[in-house]
C-alpha cells in the first residue's frame, strides 16, 4: 500500500499534467458543440469591456471607409423607398400574410473578430438588454456574416461564417437549387457550397444567396459568387462548388442582426415533426 502511494507521489507531476490536459480538452469539446453552453467567452462582461476598449482605438482608423459604405447604402435604400412610396391617387391593399414582414433588424458594432483559426467567432457590442437572442442571423451590407451563439447583458458572441461548425442553407440565385454553405478552414475568402446534385448546371460567376428555408436568415441575403465548379471527388453524385465570399471579414465594423419573429412557431413545428434544422 505504501509503495502505491510512493509510486503515485513520484509520478505526481504526470498525474497533474494528465488532469490539466483532460480539463483543457473537455473545454475544447464543450465549447465547440454548437448547441452546448459556453461558459467562458467574450460575452463575459469584463472580457467584452477590454475588447471594446481595443476596438475603440482600432476602429477609429477606418471611420472614413465606414462612412462611405453607410452613405452608399443609404442612397440605395432611399432609391428603393422612392419606388415603394404610395402615390396620392392609389389605394392601399391589405397584403397577404405570405408577404407580411416577419423579420426584425437591429444594428450592432463588432468589437472583436478572428479569422486565423478554424473556429472563428465575432464579439458584438449588443446583448440581451437590446433584445439580442442566441440564434439570430448576422449580416452586413456586403453579405452574410454569421449567427449569434451566446449573449450576455451587453455583449454577444456569434459564429462567423468562417467557422467549420456553421452550416448555412443557401441557393444558387439563377436556378433556385439549394445546398449548404460551409467553410473548409483554409481560405478566408472562400466557402464551399455542398449537396448540389451533379445534374445541376452551375457556372462560374453565379450568385449564391441565403435560401430562406431556415428560420434564421430571410431569403436573398448575398453570400457570394461561384468561383470554381468541380465534381466532388469523394462523392461523385454531388458537385464541389467554391464560392467567393462577398463579405470582407477582415474589415467588419458594423453588422445587422436579423430576428425571425416567428422563430418560436417554426421551431416548435420542426420539433413536432422531428426535423433537425440547419442554420
Amino acid at each position: 500500500m505504501v509503495r502505491i502511494f510512493q509510486f503515485l507521489y513520484r509520478v505526481r507531476a504526470f498525474l497533474l499534467f494528465a488532469f490539466l490536459e483532460f480539463l483543457a480538452i473537455w473545454m475544447i469539446v464543450a465549447n465547440n458543440s454548437p448547441q452546448g453552453a459556453a461558459f467562458f467567452n467574450s460575452s463575459n462582461e469584463w472580457v467584452g469591456n477590454a475588447l471594446k476598449k481595443q476596438a475603440d482605438v482600432v476602429q477609429y482608423f477606418s471611420l472614413v471607409d465606414d462612412n462611405a459604405a453607410l452613405v452608399e447604402e443609404n442612397a440605395r435604400l432611399k432609391q428603393g423607398l422612392m419606388a415603394l412610396q404610395v402615390r396620392p391617387d392609389s389605394m392601399p391593399l391589405v397584403i397577404d400574410s405570405t408577404l407580411e414582414a416577419n423579420f426584425e433588424l437591429k444594428g450592432a458594432r463588432v468589437v472583436a473578430n478572428s479569422l486565423r483559426f478554424s473556429q472563428n467567432y465575432l464579439t458584438l457590442y449588443k446583448g440581451s438588454k437590446d433584445g439580442i437572442k442566441p440564434g439570430m442571423g448576422v449580416f452586413n451590407s456586403q453579405g452574410i456574416v454569421g449567427r449569434v451563439k451566446s449573449v450576455s447583458e451587453n455583449y454577444a458572441v456569434a459564429f462567423s461564417v468562417l467557422n467549420t461548425n456553421l452550416l448555412i442553407s443557401a441557393k444558387i440565385k439563377s436556378s433556385d437549387v439549394f445546398g449548404s454553405v460551409r467553410w473548409d478552414g483554409s481560405n478566408t475568402s472562400e466557402v464551399q457550397l455542398l449537396y448540389v446534385p451533379r445534374h445541376v448546371k452551375a457556372s462560374k460567376g453565379d450568385t449564391v444567396i441565403s435560401s430562406g428555408f431556415n428560420a434564421v436568415f430571410p431569403e436573398g441575403i448575398l453570400i457570394g459568387k461561384i468561383s470554381k465548379v468541380e465534381v466532388n471527388k469523394s462523392d461523385p453524385n454531388y458537385l464541389a462548388l467554391t464560392v467567393k465570399l462577398s463579405t470582407d471579414f477582415s474589415k467588419l465594423n458594423y453588422v445587422y442582426l436579423v430576428e425571425n419573429t416567428r422563430f418560436q412557431e417554426l421551431d416548435s413545428l420542426y420539433r413536432q415533426s422531428d426535423l433537425i434544422n440547419e442554420y
Binding site: 499534467f17 483543457a24 475544447i28
Partner: protein, 174 residues
Amino acid sequence: MNIRNLFSYGFLILILGLVQILFLKNLAVFGHAFGFLYLLGLLILPSTLRTIPLMLIAFCVGFILDIFFQTIGMHTAAATLFAFLKPTWLKVASPTGGFDEAEEPSLGQIGFGRYISYAFPLLFVYCLAFFTADQWGTGGFLVILSKSFFSALFTLLLTLVVQLLFFSRKRSIS
C-alpha cells in the same frame, strides 16, 4: 526565487500577455505563421522552478488568453504540454553539470546557439499541439505541420528580437 524575482516575472508575463492580446491577436504572417510571444515568459522562468507550479502557471496563462481569443482550451492544452516538457528538455539540453542555481534559460545567460536549440523544439511542440486542436477533423496533417513549423520559427524570431531589445546582458529583466 525571491519576492523581487517573483514580481519581475509576473510583470513580464503580464506585459507579454497584453502584447499578445492587443497586437498579435489577428497577426499571421502570410496567414500561416502565428506569433505566440507570451511563451517567452514561460521559456525564461528559472530552471529551479519545479514542474508542478510551472504547469499551473502555464495553465492559468493559457486559459486567460483563451478567453480573449475565443479558443477555449486550445492555448491551455498546448501551454500545459509546453510546461510539462520544459524542465525535462532543459535537463537534456543543458551542459553536463546543469545550470547554476540562479541561472535562467534566456538568451543573455545561455548564449545564442544553446538558446535556439533549447527554445525551438519546445515552441514547435507547442504549435503542433495548438494547431492539432485547432484543425481537428478539418485540415490535413501537412497543413498542421507547416503551420506549426513556420509559427515556431516566427515565435522564435519574436522572442529573440524582444530579448535583444529589452533585456540587459547581465540581468535578464532590466
